[in-house]
């Protein structure tokens, strides 16, 4: 029995879901056959809308239309302050987090909740298409996303009722989609320029193992910036536009016209733009566009060079470059990439779909149905702690293969001190204040003793999702030590739990409860099957010892089922499965022999 794991690309502008069916990647379309779902959510008297219908209400004053929420994920209000003027919906600071006021319900909506609405829609789409409930998912994020942004994405998945098996980096997912696993060994670069983020990864592929050598990027660089460059150009040529573009609608309109012109220029040499209401009538040529975007193109090459240097890979050793993201359709980008690498460019898979397709492949691996491929990714940013004098001490350098861990010993420096605070940071800068604060951990309940006597070993573990977990052990007692987390950005674990409970995405469904219900159902099935088998089989097939072992495990499972911990029930079910496996195999062989009637098989 294998489960179905879908792959989801939760994009800044568009999202989509894909799945492997019979070793084929299928992008799941909506009822109208469209693969993409605009990452747009609208709140109005009429309720919550998502996708094209939400996008259609962009100019409706009665509706709050939220787009590009990915830019706000896992950020503090201060982080995003500068971007807010670009958005046409209000964002307010609530406990230093950027939140969207829902005027109708007198509440605030967090960016992960917006993501959850989009994810829930894709989940529903997959369930209808596959005609089965879907829980397990792989969700992609830009490789350069930090811990908080990854956690926020995972939270969004959970709020949407998904069991997020893995957060995968978008560029690596793209490489998986190209099916390079089979035979095509070498070093490949992935250049991913989306709407709002730029990612670059270097990947070594060897016999099905995809090993990321280095990654780098810029979470504030993408096609949107090209549009802004065009708008600024118009404003400089037509100074009168400057005044009118103080207004939201005008700015929005200009931005849209700029994007249209940009896209047109990917296939034509010049494009005329007329907006009579603004008195704009201008012709944009590909040459002008190239000149306008050149500084941005050059900016993408900075992370590219840094990644090459970090990996210790000279540019000549790269065997090919995979292009991902809508903005790589720009001819100037292709040219710049070709000039730098002088190697084959891979752009045959639709850049809009390739990330979700790769996520579906990773989902297939995680479902246990595919063992030949393995992705070994890295952490994009160095992880450190603040030490004396506000200096960052690095524990895990960037581009370390994940999962990874670092251990550090902590002690007290005052007599009788019962608590030690640890400030965890992510980034490459010397001073703590210049890096991104991830969380403050407090080791609490330390037994009072003289200064320096306590020995608490703290393990910083970055899992395969690139998400940090901190554990502490008192070295003198071997007992685990209390750790209290104050996350700097994003929601606390309690917030997430509360939001899942009251979430409008699935109001009546509580994740833990559902996990428990599902686990109990499965446990019941396994128990019944086992019980029936034991009744039928005699000691010759099941020796008493083995029978006792199975009965004992059945008892443990039944006890677990009386409790409310769904995970425990699942674990005990797995164990029962395991203790009965030898028996199942023997029965299988037995019946095969019977079926063959002892005769030799013809060759």
């Amino acid at each position: 029995m294998s489960r179905t794991v879908v792959g989801i690309d939760l994009g800044t502008t568009n999202s989509l879901v894909a799945v492997m069916i019979d070793d084929r990647i299928v992008v799941i379309p909506d009822d109208d056959g469209r693969p993409l779902l605009p990452s747009v959510v609208a709140f109005s008297q009429a309720g919550v809308q998502v996708g094209y219908s939400a996008k259609a209400r962009l100019n409706d004053p009665e509706t709050t239309v939220v787009y590009s929420a990915k830019r706000l994920m896992g950020k503090s209000y201060d982080d995003v302050r500068e971007e807010l003027p670009r958005l046409s919906y209000p964002v307010e600071s609530v406990r230093d987090l950027p939140m969207i006021p829902d005027r109708l319900k007198n509440r605030h909506i967090s960016p992960p909740e917006i993501g959850a609405v989009v994810l829930a829609e894709l989940k529903k789409r997959a369930e209808i298409y596959l005609n089965q409930p879907i829980q397990d998912a792989v969700i992609t994020v830009p490789a350069y996303f930090n811990d908080a942004q990854r956690q926020a994405t995972k939270d969004a998945g959970q709020m949407a009722g998904l069991n997020v098996l893995r957060i995968v980096n978008e560029p690596t997912a793209a490489a998986l989609a190209y099916g390079f696993g089979s035979g095509k060994d070498g070093i490949f670069a992935i250049y991913d320029l989306g709407g709002g983020t730029f990612d670059f990864s270097l990947l070594k592929i060897q016999k099905g193992i995809f090993e990321v050598l280095a990654t780098n990027g810029d979470t504030h660089l993408g096609g949107d910036d090209f549009d802004q460059a065009i708008v600024r150009h118009w404003q400089s040529v037509h100074p009168e536009l400057k005044n009118s573009s103080e207004r939201y609608e005008v700015r929005d309109l200009l931005r849209k016209e700029a994007e249209k012109a940009k896209i047109a220029l990917s296939t034509t040499d010049s494009s005329r733009v007329t907006v009579p209401s603004l008195g704009l009538d201008s012709t944009l040529t590909r040459d002008i566009l190239n000149r306008l975007v050149e500084p941005l193109v050059q900016r993408t090459l900075v992370p590219v060079r840094q990644a090459l240097e970090d990996a210790g890979v000279p540019v000549e050793r790269v065997d090919g470059v995979i292009l991902v993201g809508g903005a790589t359709r720009l001819p100037r980008i292709k040219e710049a990439v070709r000039d730098l690498f002088g190697k084959p460019i891979y752009d045959s898979v639709d850049p809009d779909l390739v990330v979700a397709e790769g996520a579906a492949v990773q989902g297939h691996i995680l479902s246990g149905q595919r063992k030949d491929l393995l992705l070994l990714d890295v952490t994009p940013l160095s992880l450190g702690i603040e030490t004396m004098g506000g200096v960052t001490s690095t524990l895990i350098p960037r581009n370390t293969t994940i999962p990874t861990q670092a251990k550090e010993m902590f002690t007290t420096f005052l007599d009788g001190q019962t608590r030690v605070d640890i400030h965890v940071l992510q980034g490459e800068r010397e001073l703590a204040k210049d890096n991104r604060s991830l969380a403050r951990f407090s080791l609490t309940g330390i037994e009072p003793m003289i200064a320096g006597a306590a020995r608490i070993e703290v393990t910083f573990m970055i899992d395969a999702n690139g998400i940090l977990d901190v554990r502490a052990v008192d070295q003198r007692t071997g007992q685990s030590q209390g750790v209290v987390v104050h996350s700097s950005y994003g929601l606390s674990r309690d917030d997430v739990r509360d939001l899942i409970k009251e979430s409008f995405v699935h109001a009546k469904e509580d994740f833990e409860t559902r996990l428990l219900i599902d686990a109990r159902t499965e446990a019941r099935t396994v128990l019944n099957a086992t019980r029936r088998a034991l009744e039928r089989l005699d000691d010759a097939i099941v020796p008493p010892e083995e029978r006792a072992g199975i009965v004992e495990q059945m008892r443990l499972l039944e006890t677990a089922m009386e409790g409310t911990d769904g995970r425990k029930v699942r674990d005990e079910t797995t164990r029962l499965d395991q203790v009965t496996r030898p028996l199942a195999e023997r029965l299988m062989n037995h019946s095969v022999q019977e079926a063959l009637g002892g005769k030799a098989v013809d060759n």
Partner: protein, 225 residues
């Protein structure tokens, strides 16, 4: 480096209590076993304790162990086994990272086989003579870079680094030959050990001069916004 199983017998399977000795997978119940019970990064990857290593072999071991332990392949197991998978994969990654770079590997080897083995490594200080030498080199390179640009200074430095690396590799080969001849790693001549230590430390200084001299590819790192 020991994983959660500190107070249980590491030669027995954590799950079925059968003998596993140093196997990655229990021969009777087929559960993966915590590699944290092993003594060092070499044994985690199943490699002999040597200074010189063939990169292809190391990569093969790394990939092989990853295929056994990586969490991707243990999604359906119970949470205890998932934790072992996670910790094992982290240790395998760490082992590969440490042994991949010949100079990191040499430093690790010295810590591991030294008389006062400490997992944190020993603090080495460059001898005053070498320290003086390296400081003078730094000054002259900076002067040169200031007058004629960094290119020439960098290539002069690169030659010095290459010389030092040859010296290091020669020492590593020499010590490996002794190991092949049956000498115990702990019994290697102390003057070889300290020569290697000094050379590694010297190279580290040279590399840090190189880092300071090199023009940066741009503002790396993650400015806050």
């Amino acid at each position: 480096m020991s994983v959660s199983s500190a107070h249980t017998d590491p030669s027995l399977c954590w799950n079925c209590r059968e003998t596993v000795s140093d196997a990655d997978i229990c021969p009777s119940c087929v559960k993966i076993q915590p590699v944290g019970r092993k003594a060092d990064f070499y044994s985690i990857l199943g490699l002999p304790v040597r200074l010189i290593m063939e990169p292809g072999q190391l990569t093969d071991r790394f990939h092989g162990k990853s295929r056994i332990f990586h969490p991707d392949f243990h999604q359906d197991e119970e949470s205890g086994e998932q934790l072992i998978s996670l910790e094992n994969a982290a240790l395998v990654n760490q082992a590969f990272k440490t042994l991949k770079d010949p100079y990191d590997r040499a430093a690790y080897f010295l810590d591991l086989t030294g008389p006062h083995h400490s997992p944190q490594g020993q603090k080495t200080t460059l001898s005053p003579i070498l320290l003086m030498e390296v400081m003078e080199l730094k000054e002259s390179l900076e002067e040169e870079a200031g007058e004629r640009g960094t290119d020439e200074a960098l290539s002069r430095l690169a030659r010095r680094v290459a010389e030092e690396e040859t010296r290091i590799l020669d020492l590593m080969k020499k010590m490996d030959a002794l190991l092949e001849g049956g000498t115990d790693a702990g019994q290697l001549p102390e003057n070889d050990r300290s020569a290697l230590r000094q050379a590694l430390e010297y190279r580290k200084y040279l590399k840090s001069i190189e880092r300071d001299l090199k023009p940066r590819p741009g503002n790396i790192g993650n400015p806050k916004h």
